[in-house]
């Protein structure tokens, strides 16, 4: 078994420590960071993702695989940066002001990280200004808002307005979700993307970031 395959296999079992050791070993053997990332780590996450879609593994399995993934990619980050390979993308995520529901949001983060995205998670009760300030500072591709209450869904509009005010509306994609949010609400409020679950949110974010 090649070392990259070994990384992928161990990642699928969620063995963070082993993955980290193997990544280091691969680096020492002179394998390029990009190959380790793509043929090792992301390959493993791809398999897990596919199994998840087919109901063969469940969220906890995906989560520990994602942990193993980030343990490995920590080591690769500096190498990737110096060789000019950019991270897949960067998004700002949070639950809107007045709302403390974060289970769905956390799941979205997990799925996005599993796809190799850098997620800046602002937590709960996040004001429109904080979403936008962070997106500006971090030069993020997307702002992702989660809202679970009818009374806080309106906050999404404030985030969009703040993005317009800050002059970044045409540069940043606004993704929204949460149980009461619908596609028609997304259109009405002027956001860009709505998806119904965390896996499709991650897929959509990857697309956005690769544009």
């Amino acid at each position: 078994m090649s070392i990259l395959n070994e990384i992928s296999q161990n990642l699928q079992c969620g063995k963070a420590k082993v993955v980290k050791e193997l990544v280091q070993k691969a680096i020492d053997e002179g394998i390029s960071a990009e190959s380790i990332l793509k043929e090792g780590l992301l390959d493993g996450m791809g398999v897990i993702g596919e199994k998840f879609k087919n109901d063969e593994v469940y969220v906890p399995d995906v989560l520990i695989a994602a942990r193993a993934m980030s343990a490995g990619s920590e080591l690769l980050k500096p190498l990737l940066a110096s060789s000019g390979v950019k991270a897949t993308g960067k998004v700002v995520l949070g639950t809107v002001a007045g709302d403390l529901h974060d289970i769905g949001k956390n799941l979205v983060r997990m799925m996005m990280e599993g796809k190799g995205l850098e997620v800046i998670d602002l937590g709960i009760d996040v004001s429109a200004e904080r979403f936008v300030e962070t997106a500006v500072r971090e030069d993020a591709h997307a702002i992702c808002c989660s809202a679970l209450l009818t009374t806080t869904m309106g906050e999404i509009k404030n985030v969009i307005d703040a993005a317009i005010q800050a002059g970044i509306r045409d540069k940043v994609t606004i993704m929204i979700g949460g149980a009461p949010v619908t596609d028609s609400f997304c259109k009405m409020v002027g956001a860009d993307i709505y998806t119904a679950d965390a896996a499709s949110a991650a897929d959509a974010a990857v697309q956005v970031c690769s544009r």
Binding site: V59, P60, A198
Partner: protein, 467 residues
């Protein structure tokens, strides 16, 4: 027929209780709210950063001041309900729904008209004990006064005791004030709210604010948790029960420190998490394991208990909806619940209310009441009655006094479930949905709202207009 559901043995109960005290003493509960922290501190709790750790004596003393029952007063005092020891369970409707659905129009966002319709169904339901302002959140409520306007609608259309709003301290204040005005001093407790802990082991600022406001005003509050085992509480159900118990008790202790004797209800709608969607599964059998344990704990502390009613994760009025709503209502009624929220209409893991399911849930409750009610009454003269009837020659009981006198009370007649034969059923194009649809439409047509004195209305309208 007596149904009595229990999952914890007396020894288990004692262990859960001791573990709870240890959890609260050693690890404490996470609280940021400064005022709440001060209250705990003043009464001998240890406050370390955002962790409030409470000694068992403090907890036990606070728990002992909780009333085991209380009366909730309505605008019309004939509608008053007693909640807790010695009273039969009080049912509240589905609440907090985002969407509404009915047979003709399908699923859609709820409107003010839907709220009005549900309030009329609730007022005219013989099973519903309270008027719930937050059944749905109408999308077309005027902005800024949405919540107050919903409370006003509730007070206009129903004279049952108010199950009010309690999203934060400001909403709680206004809701209590409106209920006070509406009930005109007819009783001590005139509005009940509900708050939820923030599992694992925390209470959010907003909820703490509501606890303090409801307690300070001596108004009853349901302190519940809705943890998701496997995500916000342990997968092992017994450990979830311990964590939940600690969270609820921490909230109850605060209420009693603010005002000893303030009425509270111990609530629980925690259940398992679906491991592929991470959705909350309120129709899962595990919900009743957790809820029954919680009910036993509430009884152990002599505090009224609240659980869920016709809970289901079903998206359509299908067999899943029927199975889940029935088992949940059955076990809630068997575990000695005192107050049931979401008794009628609720669907898809709390996301929507269905008009037809509302009517079907009423039938489920009636069926359970029939089974758990008077049971099989004995006759003093059964031998003679049977003997004479058989000897009389007709060979049938259809025209016998026993039938004529008793069939109406002895046989429960299902309003929705169909008992015709195939051909008639097919010819009439009957379905449960259609039958239920006809029932609620007729109820709305016949509905006459209760009177609300114009001076009370005026005063309430002033409160709604407040900036």
């Amino acid at each position: 027929m007596h149904l009595r559901a229990e999952v914890l043995s007396p020894k288990d109960l004692q262990t859960v209780h001791e573990n709870t005290l240890a959890l609260l003493e050693k690890y404490g509960i996470r609280i940021k709210h400064q005022e709440a922290k001060m209250v705990f501190l003043e009464h001998g709790a240890k406050v370390e950063g955002d962790h409030v750790k409470m000694p068992p004596e403090l907890v036990m003393k606070a728990l002992s001041s909780v009333p085991s029952s209380f009366i909730l007063t309505g605008r019309n005092t004939e509608r008053n309900v007693g909640i807790g020891e010695g009273y039969s369970p009080v049912f509240g409707p589905g609440a907090g729904a985002v969407f509404i659905s009915d047979y003709e129009r399908g699923r859609r966002p709820g409107t003010v008209q839907d709220l009005r319709n549900l309030l009329a169904l609730s007022q005219s339901s013989k099973h519903i004990g309270v008027a719930c302002a937050g059944m749905i959140y109408p999308f077309d409520m005027p902005v800024g006064v949405g919540l107050e306007a919903a409370i006003l609608e509730t007070l206009k259309i129903s004279d049952k005791p108010l199950f009010g709003l309690s999203q934060d301290s400001a909403v709680s204040e206004i809701c209590i004030e409106m209920a006070r005005v509406a009930t005109e001093g007819k009783g001590e407790h005139y509005v009940m709210g509900v708050v939820n802990s923030l599992s694992p082991m925390a209470w959010d600022d907003k909820m703490l604010g509501s606890i303090m406001v409801y307690a300070a005003n001596n108004q009853p509050l349901v302190l519940a948790c809705c943890s998701m085992a496997g995500f916000t509480s342990p997968t092992t159900l017994s450990a979830t029960v311990i964590q939940n118990n600690a969270e609820i008790i921490a909230g109850i202790v605060l209420s009693q420190l603010v005002r000893p004797g303030a009425p509270v209800v111990y609530g629980n709608t925690s259940t398992i998490t679906d491991m592929s969607t991470m959705n909350l599964c309120i129709g899962a059998p595990e919900y009743q394991l957790i809820s029954t344990a919680a009910s036993q704990l509430a009884k152990f502390y002599k505090i009224p208990y609240r659980s869920g009613g016709g809970l289901t994760d079903a998206k359509a009025l299908d067999m899943q909806a029927g199975i889940e709503a029935t088992t949940n209502l059955l076990f809630s009624m068997a575990n000695g619940v005192n107050f049931v929220l979401h008794a009628l209409g609720i669907m898809e893991s709390f996301m929507s209310i269905s008009y037809e399911k509302w009517i079907m849930d009423e039938e489920i409750i009636e069926r359970i009441m029939r089974m758990t009610g008077d049971g099989c009454r004995l006759l003093p003269d059964a031998v003679e009655m049977i003997g004479n009837a058989v000897a009389s020659g007709s060979g049938s009981f259809i025209d016998h006094d026993d039938t004529l006198d008793n069939f109406r009370s002895e046989f429960y007649r299902t309003p929705v479930s169909n008992r015709q034969n195939w051909d008639t059923w097919e010819k009439n194009g009957i379905s449960c949905q259609k039958t239920a649809n006809g029932i609620w439409q007729k109820r709305l047509k016949d509905f006459v709202p209760p009177e609300l004195p114009s001076y009370v209305l005026k005063e309430l309208e002033k409160l709604v207009q407040m900036p």
